[in-house]
């Protein structure tokens, strides 16, 4: 890797979302649409036919008035590291045409719409429903085509797309670093659109391997958990919540089974 020689270590970009801070305002979703040329239709209420790279779920504790609690949970692609050593997310190995891969230098799970021929096996494989299919030709009415971001290709009908952690921003930051003769890019140089927009700073993004990055510490918080850890998908998106019912809602448990708080740490450092 000639051009990566300067790298001191392999990066593992990841995200920590503080659910205590998230108010469900939807800024992350809109920032993502705007940054990533996500189209819109007249009817977007069928959430299974609605292109969203990050979607906010509303969780409730299931208790009745006035003991009800709700919690908002934004869910982007979890950029799973997968079983065993990293590089085996549920979706990557199933793709028959290598339209998605795991980038060992950043940990980002890619999706290349021009390679994808739309078999949707990856969607069946992803337990998070992070992958979305272009059931329709995208249409930008009136002059809205003018606001399209040239750094992100618009997807055509018939292919799968998903959150890329705004990887084009990483590429832009790398370009700048090359020009300035730097080997490393700064934490602030590469932030996805959702993290940049989040009005409550609930979304923190950075290199999970880099002790100087904010996410490094946050992921080890006692409030931290990940979605569906028991499947060993090993996501790089961490959530923080001070409420135990929220942390429990992040995974499936048998009745009477308690959430193994201590085991969780083991999985973390796998």
């Amino acid at each position: 890797m000639k051009e990566e020689q300067g790298d001191k270590h392999t990066k593992r970009y990841g995200m920590v979302i503080d659910l205590d801070k998230c108010t469900g305002c939807g800024a992350c979703m809109v920032a993502c649409y705007a940054e990533n040329n996500v189209p819109f239709k007249k009817n977007e209420t069928d959430k299974l036919d609605s292109l969203n790279w990050i979607r906010i779920f509303q969780l409730t504790n299931g208790r009745s008035y006035p003991d009800t609690e709700i919690c908002y949970l934004p869910m982007p692609c979890q950029h799973c590291d997968g079983i065993g050593k990293h590089g085996h997310p549920p979706c990557v190995s199933v793709c028959p045409a290598i339209a998605t891969d795991y980038d060992y230098s950043t940990g980002v799970v890619s999706q290349i719409p021009t390679r994808c021929f739309g078999c949707r096996y990856c969607m069946a494989a992803c337990p998070y429903h992070a992958r979305k299919f272009n059931w329709w030709d995208p249409v930008w009415p009136a002059d809205t085509e003018k606001y399209l971001n040239p750094n992100v290709s618009a997807r055509m009908r018939g292919v799968v797309e998903k959150c890329t952690f705004c990887f084009h921003r990483y590429q832009q930051a790398r370009d700048k670093a090359y020009l300035e003769g730097r080997d490393e890019i700064y934490e602030s140089e590469y932030q996805p659109a959702c993290a940049q927009a989040c009005p409550t700073n609930a979304i923190t993004f950075g290199d999970l391997n880099n002790p100087d990055h904010a996410v490094y510490k946050l992921k080890n918080s006692p409030r931290a958990f990940r979605l569906l850890e028991r499947l060993h998908t090993n996501p790089k998106v961490y959530y923080l919540s001070s409420k135990s019912w929220v942390r429990r809602a992040g995974d499936n448990y048998l009745e009477n089974e308690s959430r193994p708080e201590s085991n969780r740490q083991k999985i973390h450092h796998k």
């Binding site: 549920p90 190995s93 793709c95 028959p96 045409a97 069946a124 429903h129 292919v159 048998l254 009745e255």
Partner: protein
């Protein structure tokens, strides 16, 4: 018309008018399917009721089911050419034709099902060797080639074609090396039937279908091959019976059918034991380790609940196996046909479950069950292969010497 050389000698066929009417109906249904196919190809997959939760749906089920049912070709071929059950030569032609129909239909459905059909060849050119679907695509295409080769001699035996010496000799020589193709077919089938099972079995993000296994192959890999070998011949028997009823003629001797039924029965019996063992291990070990109880997969489901599991394993598994392995059961025409139908339904239910229920069960705890009903376009394109099969079988039956025993069983007056 009876004397036209297109129809094999010494057999009786219906009138041209009757045949044309019959074909017209089939073609009409076919055209309906073709229209739906046109809509899907030109307007896109928004013509279906699939969605982001149901990336796989009716079509993939149809694909899996049709390949399982087409499994009669490879297993009968295996029995005939490799094990040496010569008796089965009397049904192998038909098994091959049914297999051919099933596999060509499967390929067509796959071509409709993908979002970018014009890029479909990426699966070969940019193949990812780790993907079960790649394995499926390669083996499926190769085996379809093998089936075509196996089908060709029968075509060349059409009286008119047979007169061409080149084809005559070709056909003869092909027959003599058919064992090689059959062996190839068995090898390919083992892998693609298995990899179709692997398609769902490797999904470690889907606790409903994920199975442990040997090396890269989950248990479903072997179960799929096994069940196809068990139920495929049942489908051959069923179609043969339907053909006999429609043509009002006996085409295959009972002892042939009995032999096939017996072997199927034992395959089915062993399969269902393995399936039960697999289900128990999954329900008691695999799924709980992911936080699921067996009943989590079957409750909150407004349509079938646990009954689908009972249907698959007991009604369509244990019952037909029990009938087929007992002589009395096999020899009763009614019980035999009941068993055959149940076995066919059973394998279809199994494929349905492994595709659709896999996707219906919510994995993220705060998501709900996903429901799905196919659009008419999906239904039409799924019926299309049936019409196509009817047409191919009708043509084959009319013009090709498919059943070696037909003349003997129906001596012309």
């Amino acid at each position: 018309m009876e004397t036209t050389p297109l129809i094999p000698q010494g057999v009786k066929r219906c009138s041209k008018l009757q045949f044309s009417l019959w074909m017209a109906v089939a073609v009409a249904v076919l055209l309906w399917g073709v229209y739906a196919m046109y809509l899907v190809w030109f307007k896109g997959l928004n013509q279906t009721n699939m969605n982001d939760a149901y990336g796989f749906a009716l079509w993939i089920w149809a694909d899996l089911a049709v390949i399982a049912l087409g499994g009669g070709a490879f297993f009968t071929g295996f029995l005939t050419y490799i094990i040496g059950k010569d008796k089965l030569k009397n049904i192998i032609n038909y098994a091959v034709i049914i297999g051919f129909i099933c596999y060509s239909s499967a390929l067509l459905i796959l071509a409709i099902d993908i979002g970018q059909p014009l890029r479909g060849w990426f699966i070969f050119w940019h193949a990812n060797e780790h993907s079960m679907l790649t394995e499926v695509a390669f083996c499926l295409s190769c085996y379809f080639g093998v089936l075509t080769i196996e089908f060709l001699p029968t075509i060349f035996e059409n009286p008119k074609l047979d007169k061409i010496p080149f084809l005559h000799h070709l056909s003869h020589n092909m027959h003599s090396i058919m064992a090689v193709f059959a062996a190839t077919g068995v090898f390919l089938s083992f892998f693609h039937q298995g990899s179709l099972g692997g398609v769902a079995g490797v999904l470690f993000g889907r606790p409903f279908s994920y199975r442990e296994g040997i090396n890269v192959w989950p248990w479903t890999f072997f179960l799929f091959t096994w069940s196809a070998a068990a139920c495929g011949p049942c489908f051959t028997i069923l179609i043969t019976w339907i053909t006999e009823k429609l043509t009002r003629k006996k085409l295959v001797k009972d002892d042939v059918i009995q032999l096939l039924a017996k072997i199927s029965g034992w395959m089915l019996a062993t399969y269902i034991i393995a399936k039960i063992a697999d289900t128990l291990y999954w329900a008691m070990v695999t799924a709980p380790s992911m936080g699921f109880n067996l009943m989590d997969f079957y409750t909150n489901n407004p349509v079938y609940g646990i009954w689908i599991l009972i249907l698959e394993i007991v009604i369509c598994g244990i019952v037909p196996a029990a009938i087929l392995i007992t002589r009395k059961g096999r020899e009763s025409k009614f019980l035999l046909m009941l068993a055959v139908v149940l076995a066919v339904v059973g394998v279809c239910v199994n494929r349905w479950v492994m595709v659709l229920q896999t996707l219906a069960v919510p994995v993220v705890p705060f998501e709900e069950w996903f429901m799905y009903a196919p659009s008419w376009q999906e239904v039409a394109t799924t019926i299309l292969p049936v019409a196509y099969g009817v047409i191919v079988i009708s043509l084959a039956h009319r013009y090709l010497p498919v059943f070696p025993q037909e003349r003997e069983l129906n001596p012309s007056n």
